[in-house]
């Protein structure tokens, strides 16, 4: 006695298996789609920059003449910006993380701070730029100087450092803390001498991620009013400045008028991407080298 039509089952099964194979290939193609676009993007940028990227380009100052224009000022601007962003986010971020992980008692207010931090991470960067414009540039009267840009950027990337530091402090095993308390160390001594050293690689990784975000971020700088003028290279945190992404922005939109500006923008992008690539490689190296299990 036959309960099912074997031919029908067989043909349906062939279809299902074929469909499964097909979808596997389609999905693999889709996974590679992003990578292909990435490759095209890199090829486009690098091929545009060839012939324009040189030592002279890195060391000479800005100019309206594309043949002699360089990004020395923009590089210095970015460096000075990071001189602010690095320490400010490091101190505020790590302190916030220690407070939330080690000192704060579970309460409504602690939950509020925590929720607030993850909400801040989702606020568009242009809104941070407006905050910087209103508070640092106008209210404090700083003007569009490195300090104002750096503080704005610091607030923007602070959640990244806080979350990374929190995770890495949380991952410090309890027995290390208990051993330290057992030896008679106070809470702060334990944090300073035991918890932080163990958590440091994770904190550094978070810092590098934050710095790379800040280096590439453009919108806040546009909002605080970095002008498209030729500004002398900054030599301190109170100078007016331009930065690498700002230079890319202005050269890109001005390429409608002068075609060569597009190549200058591409060359600047290559420099920016190389910096980001180096930073992220360092982050991966740190993670691999110090990723100890306790």
């Amino acid at each position: 006695m036959q309960y099912m039509d074997l031919d029908a089952v067989q043909s349906r099964m062939t279809k299902r298996i074929f469909f499964n194979r097909l979808s596997k290939m389609l999905f693999l193609a889709s996974a590679f789609f992003g990578l292909i676009v990435l490759a095209v993007l890199l090829y486009d940028v690098v091929s545009d920059s060839i012939g324009w990227l040189s030592i002279d380009f890195l060391t000479s100052l800005l100019s309206t003449n594309p043949d002699i224009a360089g990004i020395r000022g923009a590089i210095l601007g970015t460096v000075w910006l990071m001189v602010i962003v690095g320490p400010v986010t490091m101190i505020l971020g790590v302190c916030t993380a220690i407070y939330l992980e080690e000192y704060a008692r579970p309460s409504k207010f602690t939950t509020f701070i925590q929720t607030n931090i993850s909400n801040l991470a989702g606020v568009p960067s242009i809104v941070f730029g407006l905050l910087g414009l209103t508070v640092f540039v106008r209210l404090f009267g700083l003007g569009s100087i490195v300090l104002a840009g750096g503080l704005t950027m610091s607030l923007l990337v602070l959640p990244i450092v806080v979350v990374a530091s929190q995770e890495s402090i949380r991952a410090v095993p309890a027995h290390l803390r208990e051993a330290s308390f057992g030896m008679g160390a106070t809470k702060w001594q334990t944090i300073k001498n035991v918890v932080l050293p163990v958590a440091l690689p994770g904190i550094f990784t978070g810092m590098i991620l934050a710095i790379s975000r800040a280096i590439g971020e453009t919108a806040p700088l546009v909002a605080i009013g970095i002008p498209a003028l030729i500004i002398p290279a900054p030599s301190g945190i109170f100078d007016r400045f331009t930065a690498l992404p700002m230079q890319i922005y202005y050269w890109t939109i001005d390429s409608v008028m002068v075609q060569e500006y597009a190549y200058l923008a591409a060359a600047t992008i290559v420099v920016l991407l190389l910096i980001l690539f180096t930073l992220n490689s360092i982050a991966i190296l740190i993670r691999n080298k110090f990723d100890r299990r306790y």
Partner: protein, 310 residues
């Protein structure tokens, strides 16, 4: 004798510790100050936006802002302030972006979580995530100098600045957000459920779409919502590649200005502090802030509330 010396040491240490004890009490307070900076930042954003938005609505009515369709902030004789053209452009570019990011991101996530071997996943996932690490200004350059000219080969009517090309590029930028978060959600579906379906004769495709995706749906939707929120707040790509025409239209080949691009135009333009055009900046930013905040909170609510616990 060394015994007494140790006691002496201990007493000395204790004396030092009394100074240390005061310091110890200070510490939580200092740390709390640092932690409150983040709360202050939120407050700062809210206060500045609210304050100037209120000033804006003293000059411009709600009706004009939300119901009319003309945006001419710098028109000397008859300035008009309506957010609709900006909102329309934002939603349109976000729609295009999600049209690219959702299918590609979701199928990438299915491949990574259901089909790929461990080794392939460990290489492929970080590579896809590289896309999220490229600064948006670079995507802006790419959209303007490569994607738009490329698309014009096929769509001759495409303007030099248009909403289509930045929309697509934004979608590519969002792929890793959707893929990575969806993959996390799918990977946390326990294998026993997959094995149950496979034992019943389901193919991998059927397992993925009838079992795993329904089980991970809250995380997947959260990833879409976060992607949308990212697209709404994205600034540089649209500023560079979609121009500054304040059109209320659905024609994607035209130049349009999103809310974020408007903020850039006004802050870098000539609108002096105190003019209505200047205040309109904050009203637009407030709308943007409310939109993205609502999206982010919804995404977190989805992941928390509807997380299936196995």
């Amino acid at each position: 004798m060394s015994y007494s010396a140790n006691v002496k040491d201990m007493i000395e240490t204790n004396r030092k510790n009394s100074k240390l004890a005061k310091f110890e009490k200070m510490i939580p307070f200092l740390l709390f100050l640092a932690a409150s900076i983040s709360v202050l930042t939120t407050l700062g954003i809210l206060v500045t936006l609210l304050f100037e938005t209120v000033l804006f609505f003293q000059n411009v009515s709600f009706r004009e802002f939300f119901l009319q369709s003309e945006m001419r902030p710098l028109n000397p004789t008859n300035p008009q302030f309506s957010i609709l053209p900006l909102l329309g452009a934002t939603l349109l570019s976000t729609g295009i972006a999600m049209f690219v990011a959702v299918p590609v991101g979701l199928t990438t996530a299915v491949y990574l979580s259901e089909y790929a071997t461990d080794k392939v996943r460990r290489i492929l996932k970080p590579l896809v995530e590289v896309l999220a690490g490229i600064p948006t200004i670079v995507y802006g350059f790419f959209a303007f100098t490569f994607v738009t000219p490329f698309l014009r080969e096929f769509i001759p009517a495409l303007d030099r600045t248009n909403i289509l090309s930045p929309g697509i590029v934004m979608g590519i930028m969002i792929i890793p957000i959707v893929a990575s978060l969806s993959e996390d959600a799918m990977s946390s579906v326990p294998n026993s459920i997959r094995e149950g379906a496979m034992a019943l004769g389901a193919t991998k495709f059927e397992v993925a779409f009838r079992v795993v995706i329904p089980a991970a749906i809250s995380g997947i939707i959260a990833s879409f919502v976060l992607g949308i929120s990212r697209a709404i707040g994205e600034t540089m790509i649209v500023t560079i590649a979609s121009g500054s025409n304040k059109n209320l239209t659905f024609d994607v080949t035209q130049s349009m200005q999103t809310m974020t691009a408007y903020i850039v135009e006004v802050t870098s333009g000539d609108a002096g502090a105190g003019t209505t055009a200047y205040y309109s900046l904050y009203a637009v930013a407030m709308t943007l802030f409310v939109f993205t905040l609502a999206m982010n909170m919804f995404a977190r609510y989805m992941t928390k509330r509807f997380r299936e616990v196995y």
